[in-house]
């Protein structure tokens, strides 16, 4: 009963944070509300007895990924965008109506469904008897899902290399790093001079 009450409270807070994220004009405010949403989702993982994932949600999602966003936002001058219109002029009402229709569809489908549990045996009692959530989590991950785990590491490597290649400034022929000032047009022929 306590878990249900807490679930409703934190689910409500997560939805409020998500609504704030997509409506704020200031990007940093939106980002902080997104972190708030992630922390509430971490609490929901905790209530579901997915303790390891709750910690990973806080450390990796709310910590690492969001800090990456903060760094990039501080590197760019984004305050000037707050004066511009924040929504697409023609498609915003269509988008809102379509989203509401999709939500209504979700609710209509879910209201008519009943699920039967597969009962695969990983009950909370069995998990705590086998050494806790993190241990069972790791055993299943490295016994049954080792190949996807390695593929995920390759995906992360490719993303890292891709990010570095994308943001790297090309060197000019003299070996000097080329700097672009804001608003400056690229000098013609500079692309051919790259080494």
């Amino acid at each position: 009963m306590t878990a249900k009450v807490l679930f409703v409270i934190f689910a409500f807070l997560a939805v409020v944070g998500a609504l704030g994220t997509v409506t704020r004009r200031n990007i940093v405010h939106g980002l902080l509300l997104l972190v708030f949403t992630f922390l509430n989702i971490a609490v929901i993982f905790f209530l579901t007895e997915a303790y390891f994932l709750a910690v990973v949600q806080v450390l990796v999602y709310a910590g690492a990924i969001m800090v990456l966003f903060v760094f990039v936002i501080t590197l760019l001058d984004l305050r000037s965008f707050e004066k511009e219109p924040q929504t697409h002029r023609r498609q915003r009402w269509v988008a809102v109506v379509l989203s509401a229709l999709v939500l209504a569809e979700f609710v209509a489908v879910l209201a008519g469904l009943t699920f039967t549990s597969a009962r695969a045996g990983f009950t909370p009692e069995a998990i705590s008897a086998a050494g806790g959530n993190s241990r069972v989590f790791g055993e299943v991950l490295f016994n049954h899902l080792l190949l996807p785990f390695e593929v995920a590491s390759v995906v992360l490597l490719v993303a890292m290399v891709g990010a570095i290649v994308l943001v790297k400034r090309e060197k000019t022929a003299g070996g000097m790093t080329r700097h672009w000032e804001l608003g400056e047009e690229l000098p013609s022929g500079v692309l051919e001079e790259e080494v």
């Binding site: 878990a3 579901t48 809102v96 695969a120 994308l166 943001v167």
Partner: protein, 101 residues
């Protein structure tokens, strides 16, 4: 008494729809990336809820992979945002309407 699986599905559906609406409505590339993270988190809620309901561990393992993909997407998306800002001095996605290829 565990939390009913329907509640996870409703929460996930609401978060997903908010994220999808944010992607369609907002012009700012950063808000679109935030909405993308919201979509991925809605999927995570679903996976965790069903893992608990089916008393299975693989659903929780899948969340790790979704998080890895989210990290990769955030890194590449932010790199693209940086390059776009450097070249065009704007991040409003409807202004990126010319190709040069």
């Amino acid at each position: 008494m565990p939390i009913p699986v329907d509640w996870y599905l409703y929460l996930s559906a609401i978060l997903f729809v908010i994220g999808a609406a944010g992607m369609l409505v907002r012009r700012n590339l950063f808000i679109i990336l935030f909405s993308l993270e919201l979509l991925l988190n809605a999927v995570n809620v679903n996976l965790v809820g069903f893992a608990r309901f089916h008393e299975d561990m693989v659903g929780q393992n899948f969340v790790i992979f979704v998080m890895a993909i989210a990290a990769a997407e955030a890194a590449v998306g932010l790199a693209i945002a940086t390059v776009l800002y450097r070249n065009r001095q704007t991040l409003m996605v409807d202004l990126f309407d010319t190709m040069k290829g």
